[in-house]
Symmetry: D3
Subunit: 254 residues, 6 copies
């Protein structure tokens, strides 16, 4: 990481919460957070808290019938007071907003990226990520937590003989983290206060083997060049490795 | 309580979870469960877990303007996997279901029943009750927890000079509990397994001074008579007294 | 009734419409109000007028298939100018309001409370209650009128050999009435003007044999105690007996 | 009418209900059908029964503000069991159907066609036509009945000094009737049984002075030629004259 | 046409775009406008431009199953900036407006009026008319263009052996044109500027053999009499003949 | 580009449409495609055809008032038969789908990324991208075409004195292109047939000065590594340079 800091002059940057620019917020993953779901995880990344559940059901949607393959979907939502100001419920407004749709689809793609649909067979897993408290990085925390819930649901399905082997369904693990450029400095894992100042903002989902599943970089406020991109990807790689260690530690606990 | 048991032959009844017929499930009230809301409470009644937040905002809806009085509303919702089988999100379905509407309105009426709207002034409190895990009694747990969140929001408003005094706004406290007749025996605080067998099912909201705010008794399966009603109300009175003790204990902790 | 009046000092109360506190408004039940439905009733309670139809269809919703049992549902709605000010149509607004949902569910539960679903067999009855003119008590008038429409629909089904016997399907009759405390005085059958002043407001549905199907008491404005509750239930019992006499008289006319 | 019959060989036609081909069904117009609306009319054309209310409110929609002119709109709906088979409520379906939209717009145009918007001033009249029983011709009955409700609302507004003169607002009267070609024979005022057999179907709204406000002819099943069109228009002219006599008679009753 | 002009004094009228009162705007019909649909037509009537596609699918909606007959439906929509001011998308508003519904239904009826449903067999044709640019007469242009797309879809279906013969399915051709009375003068094919001034406005759909499929005449601003009606119908007949020549010319090009 | 081909062994790859792996499809940009909008562009990339309009309105949404800054939004939609199989209209379904939301938001962010909101002043530009024909890359074609429409709208606004200078509002130009890995070979500008086979799929929006505005890479089917990412970004850079040349050429034509 040193050359990045040199390159961008970030080595003297002090973040509001005292972290180094390449340091994750404290992460806590609680499995079996609630009793009913096949997988139920509370993930906390700093003050961001997301409840991720995985529902395993036999059978697939109609368009997938007789394909021999399974399906994985995800839905993301925020509780009304996850945020500093109350947000109206989308159920009351009668429609799902664009941001919610965008994030739900992102989570679904990331998880499908590590699932072998043939090995899953004609079964469906529905991921629900509900944000209890939002302080930046809710979509990446959702992906990281949802993976753990997914594993638990697959283990449950293996125990209940719905699938032969959870391990065969999982092609790899997946986690995600946000990175961004704040005042010219690339930083890892942005809380809300930094996120809202970021000129460039990127969410990076990676597999346990270090490859990319999703890269979503946005530069609404100032475009970024190839050098900055590479610095951000380096940070994301470091962050995802640490998140995957936390996932493994949590999953080893049983 | 003895004469009720005699009357109805319930003294030998053993409940699935080992409780006596007039015994509440273990109750736990956690204040300041999340950081952003003015009041944020996690209430646990046995396995039922509801997150109740209270949002204080200055100003009132348009129809209430220039009345000198405030307003209190409530919204109730269940997370998709609060239940044994996953429930579709109402946001995705594009409409709020009848049960959700009914319960939201009930919670709102109960809280308004103990609030002095003149003392609140032209301010609004929005209660959100989101069920993380459902095992019967989610609407009554919501009321009991929401009252604590309401008090915290009013204390916050007093500290921030939005109201003169939280105590003057509160005319009384309120809690609620379910009672029902299972196989002919009146019982207190029904978990899901009992609730689904109940011939008669009643939710009773009471003030700290022992009066009724709401009585909702339903006998879809077998009508009930005046004697049974009185037995149920006695149980509800006992349960509410204990819930109010738990509310007071939680609110004394600051 | 005398001891109630003594207790509460109500014996000198004069109501705006000249009724005694324990007196129903004039009730009129017109059967065969329209031609198409299997049961079609216009019920008038004072100025409140509700058209109640019962639609009998063979077969049940999917979740009820192969249960050998039938199903009864209800929908309630108000015409836009049933009220002093015009209310926007829920069809135009694109969603059903909370009050409508709450009342529809109440009516459905009350009717199901007197129907033997096994005897009904796999048939469905849909009740529609449309308020032509609203002057308080529209939900209780709906229940009282809907019962008569239900009986007509069952008689039709018996004649058309869809069920063996209407009498076997009906476990009992059901009617409902509102009661409330106005300025400290319990009163029976509140028109709109009284309803809006009521400190406590209760809707009580009872069977012909004098038992309770639903009790919904609300005390948004002032909580009520056990003594007041008992006085209200006495009034409701008297009112429901008279409503059931009117139902019997109407049903004897064929 | 004779030459039409000659032309088309209809003089020996016997209609199911015994009417002549150029004969209206019995018409009954009941004013002040309900108490709350400024105009409230029940119109019965044979078995078709529509409740038409007119709501007068001061002020106009925003887009009409400061124009010095008023506005008239209409909404049409069918109660679920107005028809032989129950129709789902549009409120429950969450959207208004095409047929409902089409008819609501037709009624609105017809009434606006006889209203002097300048003389109405910045006031609004909302017409609601709710079909209690449908046996063909519900849209034309709605127009005919709505006109009477409109007059009553304007008379009310004159009495309450919201407008200077009801007569000045009304440029003319309006009524409407359906005509159609059944098995080659043009007929007046089709009940449902004829309507569903009609090869050509036309709704004609005319003013009291005998001019056209709306002509809507549809020939989904067999196109029609100029001769048939003229025969249908002659029938419609005769029918509308009689309907206008009924309107005048009803309005003279006060 | 001369006697009409004499009658109404229109022979000296000069229209804004220099046309005679009985003259169509330039018409252009482009077949195979896009590649995917079975029929795809761009129709231009003056500045009005509508893209009409016809989708042929085997099978019919459930209510039509086992009837041996096909079905034809149509949907009409305007792109947001087809008009001088941007119109909000109906998808974003969450509901289809009344005007859209009305026009979609009109187009569907006109096309069904020339289709032999038995010869179509259990196949469905969905017409989509999307207005790229609106300058009056979008609904009539849609009908005229949709007919050509329909023919192409039927020819495709014949080639692909889904139907025996396109010609047998088509009972006739259909086109439509608007006519109206502007300042007392009947005119053919109104652009937006004239349409908005029209006192009477009529859309007339006719078959190739000169009969009427739909007549929709509206006189919101001034009623019209039989003489004017006849003048308008004469104009419509002339216009439709010319439009049908254009249809034939386009269809001959293959 | 040669070293990429060497690296990935792609130099012998033949694409279905005969293009080289780093070759764009033929691009055509038609300005002033329709008359009403301030900017109206038809962009064709191979068979993909998108109509992009830009609507300039003075004033901004309420949340932006008194900020001195403008706003730019975008909406994307597909006509029903843009695709091989007809897609139901989102207006009829009553809700906007996730994909539509996601793309609309992407287009909006890309355009805002090159607009100086202060120089725009309190004015709003609404971009509408409607896909007439879809053959892959509709979202990137929308961005590329929308930029040209945006420029035209700003030029219009400058001419009409709503803004001082179009050039000052534009910080840079923007275009976008898709790239992807097909059977291990990185390729530029994927048509539908390739897109559906892509293991990795990336949309890259770049400014005229060669920086990134948005990178969205998705690897639902096979994760990608840093080397592949770099190859894809090289291709995207080449493609965007060519697209920007086409934009400049089109904008020079006036």
């Amino acid at each position: 990481m040193t050359q990045i800091k040199d390159l961008l002059g970030a080595d003297t940057v002090i973040r509001a919460d005292g972290r180094a620019v390449d340091e994750l917020r404290p992460i806590r993953i609680t499995r079996h957070f609630t009793d009913a779901p096949e997988g139920s995880v509370l993930i906390e990344c700093g003050s961001t808290r997301v409840m991720c559940t995985a529902t395993f059901t036999t059978g697939v949607p109609r368009w997938r019938k007789d394909s021999g393959e399974g399906w994985v979907t995800a839905e993301y939502a925020m509780l009304p007071r996850a945020t500093a100001e109350r947000t109206d419920r989308e159920s009351i407004r009668g429609k799902v907003g664009g941001r919610t749709h965008e994030i739900s689809r992102l989570i679904g793609r990331c998880l499908r990226g590590v699932v072998n649909m043939k090995a899953l067979g004609e079964n469906q897993i529905q991921i629900d990520c509900d944000v209890l408290q939002a302080d930046g990085g809710t979509r990446t925390a959702s992906i990281t937590g949802a993976y753990v819930a997914l594993v638990d649901a697959l283990r449950w399905a293996e125990q209940h003989k719905h699938i032969r082997s959870a391990d065969r369904v999982l092609k790899d693990s997946v986690s995600a983290v946000s990175v961004g450029v704040i005042n010219g400095t690339p930083m890892l894992d942005l809380p809300y206060i930094e996120d809202s100042q970021a000129m460039t903002d990127m969410n990076v989902a990676m597999t346990g083997s270090g490859e990319f599943i999703e890269i979503q970089g946005t530069a609404e406020h100032r475009p970024f060049n190839r050098t900055e991109l590479n610095a951000l990807l380096d940070l994301a790689e470091k962050g995802n490795k640490e998140l995957q260690a936390a996932q493994r530690a949590a999953l080893a606990l049983d």
